[in-house]
């Protein structure tokens, strides 16, 4: 019942709210924090810990935005949302930015009234099965029952893939991640599909992790990024450049430990990024040391990646596509000048 109530409340706010006039940045500055939509718990991306704090890549992006605006990475409040609730929550203004492992796709960018602002994580859809099923490839899954999260691009890709390969399947869709995993673990489904990062993250929660394998194929492109409402370009720019600042910092060799010393650097690129040269905060409506605050309080992209999903985390996912373009990946940020 609570779930329906939540959706109804959000919908009602579209019906009854008066048209918003102030920009998102003004709103955020007035209330003193960023309201950030995250998942209800996906390890490595956004998950609550036992102290009520949040960790993950998506969470760190929210913190970076807060650091850029307020110089304080803790000026952010998190709204956990199911895949089903997330878009209505952003449309209605319940949250300022949605940073919830959301795939960038055309219809979401247009008909839903959103703008995607950069790619925080390049992902792709994969499958997990039981070892005992003897399945070696996705092609062996003809006739299988597949557990999937409701209202995700994953469920659509799943449908496309089986349809285009003339294979039969039965989708079992749940609203919450943990319900999907529980159903797969209980044997209701033969396979579990989601973004491959999610497969690794959720395998950690299974009782017997060795019992399950991730199939080698990746069947889709899933660029995951932060989403804002279409039309407020200044706010969108802030979200994009918060991400780009972490990428540029990694490229220039700046991290949270050496950032203070780097202020003295003679390198003009570093000086522009850290706000010691030029007036680059002005265009964003932010102080000039916005990027300095992000790097000092949250870290560069490599630090964020490694502590949440990389080698410094239980997930241990290699950088792969998410390495910098200079290191064989496709993460590439426009320059600050």
């Amino acid at each position: 019942m609570r779930r329906h109530l939540f959706m109804a409340t959000i919908a009602a706010s579209i019906v009854f709210a008066s048209a918003v006039s102030a920009t998102t940045l003004e709103d955020v500055k007035k209330k003193g924090f960023v309201q950030c939509g995250v998942s209800q718990g996906l390890k490595g991306f956004s998950s609550p810990d036992d102290k009520g704090g949040w960790t993950g890549i998506d969470v760190d992006l929210c913190r970076a935005i807060a650091a850029a605006i307020f110089g304080d990475a803790s000026s952010v409040k998190f709204t956990p949302l199911s895949a089903k609730e997330r878009f209505t929550a952003l449309q209605s203004g319940v949250i300022d930015v949605l940073s919830r492992n959301t795939t960038w796709a055309l219809s979401r960018d247009t008909a839903l009234g959103f703008d995607f602002r950069g790619v925080t994580y390049y992902d792709g859809q994969g499958f997990m099965v039981r070892k005992s099923a003897g399945v070696k490839s996705v092609r062996d899954l003809n006739g299988a029952t597949v557990c999937v999260l409701m209202g995700t691009s994953t469920s659509l890709t799943l449908a496309d893939y089986f349809r285009s390969n003339n294979m039969k399947y039965e989708p079992i869709t749940f609203e919450k991640d943990d319900e999907v995993v529980a159903a797969y673990e209980s044997g209701r489904c033969d396979a579990y599909t989601t973004d491959s990062s999610g497969l690794y993250a959720n395998r950690l929660t299974l009782k017997d992790q060795q019992e399950h394998i991730v199939l080698p194929e990746i069947i889709s492109k899933e660029p995951l990024g932060a989403v804002v409402r279409h039309g407020d370009n200044q706010w969108g720019d802030i979200v994009s450049w918060a991400l780009y600042a972490t990428l540029n910092a990694e490229e220039l060799g700046i991290d949270s430990k050496n950032v203070a010393g780097m202020r003295e650097s003679e390198n003009p690129e570093i000086r522009r990024l850290l706000g010691t040269e030029g007036k680059f905060g002005e265009g964003l409506g932010l102080p000039d040391d916005w990027a300095y605050n992000i790097i000092a309080k949250v870290g560069n992209y490599s630090e964020i990646y490694e502590r949440n999903v990389g080698m410094g985390s239980p997930l241990g996912i290699p950088r792969g596509l998410n390495a910098l373009w200079t290191k064989g990946g496709i993460q590439y940020a426009p320059p600050i000048r």
Partner: protein
């Protein structure tokens, strides 16, 4: 007599206030609609109902009508609606039967039977429904064995993918059997009318139960045998991951039907008990004194009077059951709240339209159920002479 002023004239006054009320209500809705349209435009969100013709692109696990990923959102809506109706209809039948049995058992003079019924009622109506649904789904049904090691009860197969039964397949000539069933029903209605007429004339009707049952079962069976048993069963068989063929009830449907009917039956049982107890004991005594036997007393005197107390609250329970089926969103049963107000809403982002349609559907379902029950109620209402 003093002449009444214009604004004190009750006729004009009534008109004035009614017009005012209409204006206020109309104005409220006009503002809400205008505000919504303006907000949606300001948000650059698509609006209107055109999305119902767009391709859905997602799969649905249980479809009563033809549906594929290439079908439209409108079609997905129909599939979801039918799934809701299916679970509501099955649930209402089971809940009513079970509820009547338990309600009567609670009044039984047998101590054990009465206490068991009480325990049943107190347990199931006091545990939240969502918990009961999750109990049946996660604690009972998901612990069933995998398809390869299914449990077998005669022709019935039970595993964690559902309950499988052989599917009846009709061969040529089965139409005659259907005709025979219709003929038998017509004959029974006719028999009843003859009996009624005779009872009015002589006070003694014809015996109905055995001849009726004989016609209902005998005639179709005879025809079935004559045209050479035009029916065979197709058993489900294990192919790849799952069983293929046969009739199948998915575990989500089973869990939902179990939980909804067991929960609602507890309420219906109390309604039935109160209905029976509302009939004064003097009525039974009078009937017995007139020489009616116990079953006749129950059938002709007590139940007709009890039903008029039972039907109105029973209608509410049917409505509750239908609306409670939307809790299925928690366990992947593809009904309206989960497919339409869930997946479709998410994909199209048109919350206002989708929720409006969903609410309209539940409202219409409830009103239709009420209408049917009110019709039945007026049919059986006691005509006082």
């Amino acid at each position: 007599m003093r002449k009444q002023t214009f604004w004190n004239d009750p006729r004009y006054r009534a008109w004035f206030f009614q017009a005012l009320a209409v204006l206020l209500v109309g104005g409220f809705f006009a503002t809400v609609i205008a505000n919504t349209v303006e907000n949606l435009n300001a948000l650059n969100v698509a609006s209107g109902f055109g999305f119902l013709q767009h391709t859905a692109g997602f799969g649905i696990s249980q479809t009563l009508i033809e549906y594929s990923e290439a079908s439209t959102y409108g079609r997905a809506f129909l599939v979801a609606l039918l799934n809701t109706l299916l679970v509501a209809a099955i649930g209402i039948v089971f809940a009513t039967v079970l509820g009547f049995l338990v309600g009567i058992a609670r009044l039984s003079s047998n101590w054990l039977v009465a206490k068991l019924a009480t325990v049943y009622i107190e347990i199931f109506r006091n545990i939240p429904l969502l918990l009961q649904i999750l109990f049946w789904y996660t604690a009972v049904l998901s612990n069933l064995p995998a398809p390869r090691v299914s449990m077998q009860f005669g022709p019935m197969l039970l595993n964690n993918r559902g309950l499988y039964l052989p599917a009846p397949v009709s061969d040529a000539g089965f139409g005659y059997v259907v005709l025979a069933i219709i003929a038998a029903l017509v004959a029974i209605v006719f028999l009843r009318q003859v009996s009624e007429r005779r009872r009015m004339l002589t006070g003694v009707g014809l015996p109905l139960l055995f001849p009726g049952a004989g016609v209902l079962f005998g005639l179709p069976l005879l025809v079935f045998w004559l045209v050479g048993s035009p029916l065979h069963f197709e058993a489900p068989e294990l192919r790849g991951f799952n069983f293929v063929g046969g009739v199948r009830a998915v575990p989500e449907l089973l869990a939902l039907v179990f939980a909804l009917s067991i929960y609602t039956a507890a309420f219906i049982a109390e309604i039935v008990r109160s209905g029976i107890q509302a009939v004064n004991w003097g009525q039974s005594e009078a009937a017995l004194a007139l020489g009616l036997r116990r079953p006749e007393t129950l059938r002709l005197v007590v139940i007709p009077q009890a039903l008029r107390v039972i039907i109105p609250p029973l209608t509410s329970q049917f409505l509750n059951l239908t609306k409670n089926s939307s809790l299925a969103a928690a366990l992947a049963y593809p009904e309206l709240a989960s497919v339409f107000a869930g997946t479709v809403l998410n994909q199209t982002g048109q919350a206002v339209e989708v929720l409006a349609i969903t609410m309209a559907v539940y409202l219409s379902l409830s009103l239709l159920t009420s209408m049917a029950m009110n019709f039945y109620n007026s049919r059986i209402a006691l005509v006082e002479r």
